[in-house]
């Protein structure tokens, strides 16, 4: 009797074309990511039209490689999970339509996954989730805190009111003249610097779990202008360190307050910026002190990948969630619970 569940995951919401086969929602059998960073570097950021063109070039290659590496045939799979949204619409459409065609041709159930649910479920690939939990999603497109009381239950308690943390990192990297993608460079510079420029912290209302990073970004830009006007030399390390301290202090403080207020059993971080060493260390310290288990998946599972989509998709499959062939890419998709 067959008891294991194998799900093919597909992810094309931004600039990575990815496919993966995951067993039982917890074990990666194959995980393929074709990155466009080399191509998008020319433009200093992701150009949506270029991203969509690359996805069409890569999509079947990546799915085939994920299947080949898994040693499985389509008939061995139980379902196809794909990122339905949010993301760049033209990019999402490639994954969605490839998933629809693949599911239809092979008679497999189709499951549309929310990208953030995917980031959160990346943790299942490392260790089991314990509820209630606090998920902290920090990436180029998101800065969100979500409370989960069980599988498929999401309560958004805080989000950014302007820029995502990752966006702020990229903008500051540009101000400092660092190459694209800038986040990891800012992190590196910040950790290497012994001095830090003092930048403001955006706490917002005392009880708010929301974030705001546009003021911090402006403060960095103004600081550079002032130095230039005075003809003084800018210390990129000190700026990066000051910026990173402001970001990590606000995120850590708010995450700690939320974890205590909701009496969570586990805190998990997700998203590309969660791979950031400075932020990770700050969160680890804070939660160690409070003795609340804290987990961050390894870097390749923090950045966009399809194993996380397959992991979330498996849990949805077990809950009986199914999509139909009329599924569309949903660039502004909201994270809603699937267990209610």
């Amino acid at each position: 009797m067959k008891t294991d569940i194998y799900v093919l995951g597909i992810e094309t919401s931004c600039d990575e074309t990815a496919a993966s086969v995951v067993k039982n929602g917890t074990e990666i059998i194959s995980n393929v990511v074709a990155s466009q960073i080399e191509s998008q570097k020319r433009f200093g950021g992701v150009v949506p039209e270029i991203a969509s063109r690359h996805h069409v070039e890569e999509i079947t290659v990546v799915i085939e490689q994920a299947l080949t590496e898994s040693g499985l045939k389509p008939a061995d799979l139980d379902a196809v999970a794909v990122t339905e949204g949010p993301g760049l619409v033209g990019a999402l459409l490639i994954g969605v339509n490839a998933a629809k065609a693949f599911a239809f041709a092979n008679g497999l159930p189709l499951i549309g996954v929310h990208h953030i649910a995917g980031h959160i479920y990346a943790n299942q690939l490392v260790q089991p989730m314990e509820f209630p939990l606090l998920a902290l999603i920090v990436s180029g497109g998101h800065t969100e805190m979500v409370i989960m009381r069980g599988h498929g239950s999401f309560e958004l308690i805080g989000e950014t009111r302007d820029d995502a943390a990752g966006e702020a990192y990229d903008k500051v990297a540009r101000v400092l003249g660092l190459p694209y993608p800038g986040g990891p460079h800012v992190d590196k510079l910040a950790l290497a610097s012994e001095i830090a420029v003092e930048f403001p912290r955006a706490w917002l209302e005392p009880d708010s779990y929301d974030f705001s990073f546009s003021g911090l970004k402006s403060a960095v830009i103004n600081y550079k202008h002032n130095l230039e006007q005075r003809g003084e030399q800018l210390d990129p390390g000190a700026v990066a360190a000051g910026f990173q301290q402001s970001v990590t202090e606000v995120i850590t403080t708010k995450a700690v307050r939320a974890a205590q207020a909701y009496s969570v059993k586990q805190v998990i971080a997700a998203g590309g910026v969660a791979a950031n060493k400075g932020l990770r260390a700050s969160l680890e310290n804070a939660f160690n002190e409070l003795q609340i288990p804290f987990a961050v998946p390894p870097v390749h599972l923090c950045t966009d990948n399809a194993a996380m989509i397959a992991a979330a998709g498996t849990q949805m499959y077990l809950s009986g969630v199914r999509s139909d062939l009329a599924m569309n890419g949903r660039p502004g998709m909201q994270l809603t619970s699937w267990n209610e």
Binding site: V56, P74, V89, L93, I94, N97, F104
Partner: protein, 234 residues
């Protein structure tokens, strides 16, 4: 031999199943519906109506563009994924040629046309010889004005075809007068059966993975980047 044809390259939608040169079923529509929503359910319905399974398909034909970037990508993605996973041949055909095929055997020059915004069009120039269609110009992207000026030197009646040709009727008439002829409305929509007929006449792509849309235009960001590179080398 059972073919599935899909055209989502522009606003109209068409899909068909053809078996050994006979249309089993065809669906063509010009309603403003999202291809991403309707294309796959339509294919599912056509197969069900013809009492066929996906595994019964022997080949796939797709309109490869030019046209709406997103529309072309949806059709190409569906077609290449189906062809790859079913392990069957894939043939891409110009979206303009599919439209031109509606006019065979018109004795003159056929100009299929799609609007490309800001006074620009995608167009091609074809001629029918007997039952066959011959390409006179490469499909291209350019201003309508330029196209009409080039066409005026042909000194033959030119049949404009496509729903968007109607949109530009006044400008075309003003420029070409009696030289311009317009296809009747039943011929204005691309039909997947025509696509399959054209696909049958050519070789399938050698590697399905490498198959990409025929955009006939590079993205703006890339054009700007190339320009920068050139001025840097000057």
């Amino acid at each position: 031999m059972i073919w599935l044809g899909i055209d989502t390259s522009n606003a109209p939608f068409s899909a068909a199943l053809v078996e050994d040169g006979k249309i089993l079923i065809e669906q063509t529509s010009a309603m403003k519906r999202t291809h991403s929503i309707q294309a796959m359910p339509a294919v599912e319905q056509l197969l069900a109506a013809a009492d066929l399974q996906p595994a019964d398909l022997d080949a796939i034909a797709v309109a490869e563009g030019p046209g709406s970037y997103t529309g072309v990508r949806i059709g190409v993605t569906l077609a290449k994924t189906l062809a790859w996973t079913l392990d069957i041949p894939l043939v891409g055909v110009s979206s303009l040629e599919v439209l031109a095929a509606n006019a065979v055997p018109f004795e003159g020059v056929i100009c299929p046309l799609f609007d490309a915004r800001r006074g620009n069009v995608y167009c091609g120039l074809y001629k029918s010889k007997g039952e066959r269609l011959h390409r006179i110009w490469e499909d291209r992207h350019g201003s309508l004005e330029e196209l009409l000026s080039d066409v005026s030197f042909i000194h033959q009646p030119v049949l404009f075809i496509g729903a968007d040709a109607d949109m530009h009727k006044t400008a075309i008439r003003e420029s070409l007068g009696e030289q311009a002829v317009f296809a009747p409305f039943p011929q204005q929509l691309p039909r997947a059966s025509q696509l399959i007929q054209l696909a049958e006449q050519r070789l399938p792509v050698t590697d399905v993975h490498d198959f990409v849309p025929s955009y006939r235009r590079i993205p703006e960001a890339e054009a700007n980047w190339l320009q920068q590179q050139e001025s840097r080398h000057d």
